[in-house]
Symmetry: C2
Subunit: 268 residues, 2 copies
Amino acid sequence: MADRRTITGFSNPLVKFLRSLRDKKHRRREGKFLAEGLRLLTDARLAGILPEMLVMATGRDSHPLLDELEQAVAAAGGDVIEMDEAVLAKVTGKDNPQAVAGVFAEFDTSLASLDRSAAPIWLVAQAMRDPGNLGTMLRTGDAVCAGGLILIDDCADPFSVEAVRASMGAVFTQRIARASWEEFIGWLRQGEGQLVAASLRDSTDYRKAPYRAPCFLMVGNESQGLPLECEQACDLRVTIPMLGRADSLNAAIAGAVLAYEALAALRG
Amino acid sequence: MADRRTITGFSNPLVKFLRSLRDKKHRRREGKFLAEGLRLLTDARLAGILPEMLVMATGRDSHPLLDELEQAVAAAGGDVIEMDEAVLAKVTGKDNPQAVAGVFAEFDTSLASLDRSAAPIWLVAQAMRDPGNLGTMLRTGDAVCAGGLILIDDCADPFSVEAVRASMGAVFTQRIARASWEEFIGWLRQGEGQLVAASLRDSTDYRKAPYRAPCFLMVGNESQGLPLECEQACDLRVTIPMLGRADSLNAAIAGAVLAYEALAALRG
């Protein structure tokens, strides 16, 4: 049985620390992030990633997956902490209280840590501001066997609670890198890699385009789209039909439509 | 020049009325909904739909599209109202204050109002709970030339501020219907219509499936997926590849991947 601490007060320093991880500034300073719920924490464990600290509600229902999680964290030398349900609800947010949460060390998000040959598809988001969209991109990436998600310029934080939740565990299985546009394009051109984006300029029908692995599928900011410079640097610009009144899709939707098309083309 | 009222107080009954439209219960009782921002209101106007009431900030920047909107609303006998910026910000939500908002009458959302032969594709959402996902489905529907979105069982409100915003104007161009599953399947079987859903049961590769217009593409609840009864009622069950650890896509993503595949198949 693991050593346990039990926390009952709202003003406990650990409670304050956990709550501070809902804030991007604190996450970056601490190099840690929060993931909530048994399903997400189990996804992490199955991907070989354990929280440094596991926090459970005292009045929780027993569950075999929770037992396994607790044992794995304790065996790895992590902290296992119990908290009054009301205190934990304050930590995890009142909209959707979870009986368990974990504190994880942020991953290495340098471009240098990526092995581009490890996957046929990589997703790239430029200045994507909605954490839900980022999480959804990670989830889609997992489904199409992408290697990961590369965040260019000023994106939302992929380790925010919203992005982690929307990723449905893919934050633990997809690689995540962060870079400026200049860093990214410099890195990309040092090796193989086809840069592709949806565009209205000088573009090919996305159903007939010559996708080539490793294929880097890039989508832009939710309201501005991609800067001209990024579009122009693409090896392939493709058109997704827009038959209605609007001139763009939701960014995560555009990424998914491209990703599934590239997947079909690359699988042959 | 239209007659104008100017509102300066936070406790004005009209301010309270406008704020109440952020709440589903009040929207249903009043049969009205709120749309915010010049772009959205212009999309509505170009689709032939004007607000019953137009509310503008007193200190707003002048804009030709705003002038056109104001003239059109006044010419149609609608109310044009000015409000102190701070009061309007309270109405439209402080996260993203807009200089203009409109109050619209809710549309007829009966199945009987739909002409299924008017479009090759219809989107169907069963118990979809996230208003952002609903709005995104409407936006995707516009892009693939769908006729509209049919909401089955207990869905989020398509007239919520979040759904209207995420639809990027498609709430004004796509038909919207609401029905129980029994009502929907009864209506569907009274005419032509292929009911399609992504499924793991007895299903065909979504890239090779025989889509047929009018094609009704159905996606389920964000966490539960579709009930077995709904899957079993489908004319066509298709598989979208899930190559990673997760067993499902975000619901709006799944709908879009299906919609673009059906569009390509139906266009030949």
